[in-house]
């Protein structure tokens, strides 16, 4: 089964790009992604540009509007994700626990819907 591991952290923790904190976390992600590839479970993933660059298309009452900014203002934002293929939630939880965070944060695990075939 495929699981999305969505990473939520306060993006301000990094103090921008090319800081020490930023370089450390990038290296740590390279490391875990490498291990996922070795284990043959990695199906996708990416780090995301900060929410200051987000664009949202919202539909309300059938009318679509495109606006600058994230879907919603929150204290911890979606900063990246992995898509992995493992046999059970417990295995997904074990991988989620190994995803690096700079400080406080959360990894939300979402199982994907089964293929319609």
């Amino acid at each position: 089964m495929q699981y999305l591991l969505a990473i939520y952290e306060d993006e301000r923790n990094y103090g921008g790009r090319d800081t020490e904190a930023w370089n450390n976390i990038v290296n740590a992600h390279m490391q875990i992604a490498g291990e996922m590839v070795q284990a043959g479970i990695l199906r996708g993933g990416a780090g995301l540009e900060p929410t200051s660059t987000a664009t949202t298309v919202r539909t309300r009452g059938g009318v679509q509007q495109t606006h600058d900014g994230p879907y919603t203002e929150v204290r911890e934002q979606l900063g990246g994700f992995y898509l992995i293929d493992v046999p059970s939630l417990d295995v997904a939880i074990a991988w989620a626990k190994r995803i690096p965070l700079h400080a406080d944060g959360a990894i939300e695990i979402r199982a994907t819907l089964p293929d319609q075939d």
Partner: protein
Amino acid sequence: MRMAQSKSGRHCLIKINQVSDWNALWRSHAASLLAALAQRLRNLDLAEEALQHAFEKAARHWPDTGWPNDPAGWLYRTAWNFALDQSKHAAHVAAHAAQPAAADADPAPSVQERLATFFLCAHPALSVDTQAMLMLRFAAGLSMADIARWFYSDEQTVSKRLQRAKHKIEATRISFELPEVDIWTERLPPVLSAIEVLYDRSYADVAGSEAIAAYGRDAEQLALTMAELLPDQASALGLASLIVFAESRRSARLDAQRSLVPLDRQDPQTWDGVRIHVAAALLARGAAAQANDPYVVRAAISAAHAERRISGRTPWRKIAALYELLFATTAHAPARWHQLLALAYAGQAVEALEKWRALRDTASDAAFHLIAADIHHLNGHAYERRAHLSAALRYPLGSAERQWVAAQLARA
């Protein structure tokens, strides 16, 4: 404690046209059959549906054919064959069913299967209440109506919550496998705390119906099962000991007016000596495994109270020391409150009150005020005692507990 049921033969002589016989049949077999079917089918819904079908079929046929020699085996085979016949599930069963999984398999779940059921129901990805509901259903075999009474809820709500939990288990593929032993330290606490939640609900309302008392015994049975399945785990042994000690005092906790009798005023000769013996043996094994495990320490506190049955007096100093140890390992504020109360009973009322006043805890439940009332009482402070007793009444309490507090207040 419920008597062990023999797997076969036991019910052959019973005439089965009475509802109570069917209830007895369900009570003695449903839990183990559900656990076995769920584990082997790898599907909780299908296990329930199949067992329901088997009981319904038994109700139609047994009055004519007489009871089979092996009712559990008959129910298991009927349920298993029904599950296989469900075409929409056939592919699922073929793909996921555990081996060996045949109609002629032992209808009683193995130790591994029973343990795996507990771990599945109390998976940390499920909410604590949901864990308890699933355990009542699949480890204790309770009906939806009984579970609803447990949670002061209605059947429809409980059924919806269980449905959601079962969907999550299936959709996110929560594993039916027994987790590796090395992660039990992480996974065992939710299992034990779900059993504790079950027990607390029955303990808190001592004057509750017979059904509530029966639930206390269900929780006791689950705790004993865990202790039997995990004979080296201190916390499993400690929880079982703790619950059996508490059950040993159930009948002594209520007086003729259905008002609470607090522990220190109970007649120890009315306690259940057999249970005390069983609980003490569990405690000894738990303490040998890990003496400072919080469940073991709490059981040791119960054991200290039980000493009064023999010696005629409560060893308050020992109890204070055990609560101190409990607070040191858990940092759980009520442990500190009880430590000070025990100190007050041990003849150090003034010192206990000084330390109580130095606490920075804020009142959050009736227990806080009841303990404060007792410490003030032991210091001869009638005014403060009254204030704390009235404050306690502003929090939720079982009917017997409320009656007792109100009576204290009236007399104070």
